[in-house]
Assembly symmetry: C2
Homo-oligomer: 382 residues x 2
């Protein structure tokens, strides 16, 4: 099928493009390099340089014989959105085109407003473009497990059946997030759920946990096709950061007590989940929601695993508990359902010391370029 990936330059966007292309789909990507410009502006460039999308698309075509269309522009501009949708006429859209960093969204007023306006206007333009150009298309939207926060009851898969004063209703599972970024994802959900009901759109919302990993099958042996790998506080997810800290001899930065528990997944599993969702689409008027993670860990558990993986390759890894710059519960109940994607056929990759040791090995090759100043800047929530 013809798949348009919004945010195709990102950590997940580009690997998804290669994965879907390799699986036989006709792929086009859109990006405005927003994350690159923020990374440069905030002095948090990734571990190694990543060629632009045009270059990577050509390289992918040389290696695979398969074309990936590239459209560079800002999805907040309707003229650009209309041009792309009219030209590509996708059967499905994968929407990653959001400012994805929680700490960046809390950095200052301008960063907050950029996050809010960018994320909501891109989602709204995507909805309007589907309505106008491809009303039958299926939208796969990346949500986040962070939308749910850490409630004191089990987290269901998107919906909650409520019995109240003898009557029953099914609602969107109540959401209360821990950053402005995560809150914009809740607002996305509100918007999508409204237009699913009123216009009968087909939408799958993937409530994803933090992703870790570097390589995917499609870039194996071709380092030049690797995706971004951030190890800083703004764009680096926790496992990726800890791996770099271990290699750099920088103590693992655990915020507060370290009991914060989340559901994690390997980047290879993100690609599987997106492909499985595309290949078995939502129906008209359906907002289908999956909780997209494979294993839950506390930050302390992750730190211990990275310490163990480091020991295997002779790295002495320290763990340091810092005053928590975020506002979040450091010990809490956490029991989210995540069966939907397994039922669709997901075959999870587990997070093991072997997997971490493999990441450590790749990062060690880039050891000289690690900038210790990028690792922790204490971006505070309050």
């Amino acid at each position: 099928m013809k798949v348009l990936i919004l945010g195709g330059d990102g950590y997940l966007g580009w690997p998804t493009a290669m994965h879907l292309s390799a699986a036989g789909h006709d792929v086009a990507v859109v990006d405005n390099y927003l994350r690159r410009s923020i990374s440069r502006d905030e002095d948090v460039e990734p571990l190694f340089e990543v060629p632009n999308l045009h270059w990577r698309s050509r390289r992918w075509e040389e290696l695979s014989g398969r074309h990936i269309g590239v459209h560079i522009g800002d999805l907040r501009r309707w003229d650009f959105v209309a041009e792309v949708f009219a030209e590509v006429r996708p059967d499905a859209i994968v929407h990653y085109a959001e400012q994805p960093s929680a700490p960046y969204s809390m950095l200052n007023r301008r960063a907050s407003m950029l996050t809010l306006s960018n994320n909501l206007e891109v989602t709204a333009n995507t909805i309007f473009a589907m309505r106008e150009f491809v009303p039958e298309a299926h939208l796969v939207k990346l949500g986040t497990m962070g939308e749910y926060g850490t409630p004191n009851i089990d987290i269901e898969e998107g919906w909650l059946d409520v019995e109240h004063n003898g009557r029953r209703e099914r609602f969107l599972y109540p959401r209360q997030a821990g950053s402005l970024y995560h809150t914009t994802k809740i607002m996305d959900t509100d918007l999508l759920w409204y237009y699913v009901r009123v216009w009968g759109l087909k939408v799958t919302d993937l409530m994803q946990g933090p992703v870790y990993g570097i390589d995917t099958d499609e870039c194996a042996g071709h380092d030049e096709l690797r995706t971004f790998f951030n190890y800083d506080e703004l764009f680096g997810t926790v496992v990726n950061r800890f791996v770099v800290q271990a290699v750099a001899g920088y103590p693992l930065t655990v915020y507060g007590k370290g009991g914060q528990t989340r559901g994690y997944l390997n980047i290879r599993d993100t690609l599987q989940c997106v492909r499985l969702s595309l290949e078995r689409p939502a129906t008209a008027g359906e907002l289908r929601i999956f909780n997209q993670f494979t294993e839950a860990f506390s930050v302390n558990q992750l730190a211990e695993m990275v310490r163990g993986a480091g020991a295997r390759v002779g790295l002495a890894v320290d763990v340091e508990h810092l005053e928590n710059p975020r506002k979040e519960l450091e010990e809490h109940y956490y029991n989210p359902v995540h069966t939907g994607l397994l039922e669709l056929g997901l075959e999870p990759h587990s997070l093991t010391e072997e997997v971490l040791a493999g990441m450590i090995e790749i990062v060690t090759r880039h050891r000289e370029t690690i900038d210790r100043h990028k690792i922790f800047r204490n971006s505070r929530w309050a």
Copy 2:
């Protein structure tokens, strides 16, 4: 106390300004006349002309001896927001500054995007300005009963206690609205609830039903101080529209079966509710939510009451059931709690045939200016 009213030119904004000024508060208003320009652009000007805010503020001062500060500008622009907050340093903010029309928000893509961007950016700027200039101030935000939609269970006052698999949690009452406008109000709530938790803001969210009425105590005998009175499909609320339709001999336009039930209130009660909320503020870190209406009616009941009021003054009023241009349930369960404001001291004005006859009398004086083409344009949801 020093009260800053955002959206002080609107149907509720100006009467609130006079009411709070008369009650001894030091009032300033902000507006960019957005609703005036939309009314002109869409050919739905109100029943009579309304002088600008500078003129009305001078007139109010002549009559009452009390000053109302006027600030004209766009609250989406941070430079303007910062200037106003730094100058006024309010103790409390009343936030009406949103595009308030559900049908306008569904009119076309540009109207939708204006509604989305305007409403969310103004709310976000208000939050950031409170944080920077007046972190102790109390925000009274106008939400809407429409955020809840029409669930099949009782609607509680903002919050819902859920028991699930043997554990308990209190959540924001789940919201699912019936228009993009109402959805932007849900998104406002998400944003406010997040910043109440992370920054300890003081916020009261008034979940208001449709308001009706023309005069308030403060403009009695001074027609030149009257607020906007729209009777069109975009900005006219249903009771106000029906009164004009009765006077114009235009059949009352009931959408579909007419069983749509909502909670209504007199404009005088809006002013009471806002004042009572201001005078007994929320505490730091509290999002206090009230359901702000006094009586629930179906559209059929309203039509019958207007027909009855018309008969008293010799008007023969017809009722016409039209194909519903909206997407909504036309028969549904509806049982919302609304005790919080009564406990604060609200003394409700009931909707009676006498009240409607009084409105009919005022509208009859403007009978010649009713433009029948403005009444119904069939702005469709889907």
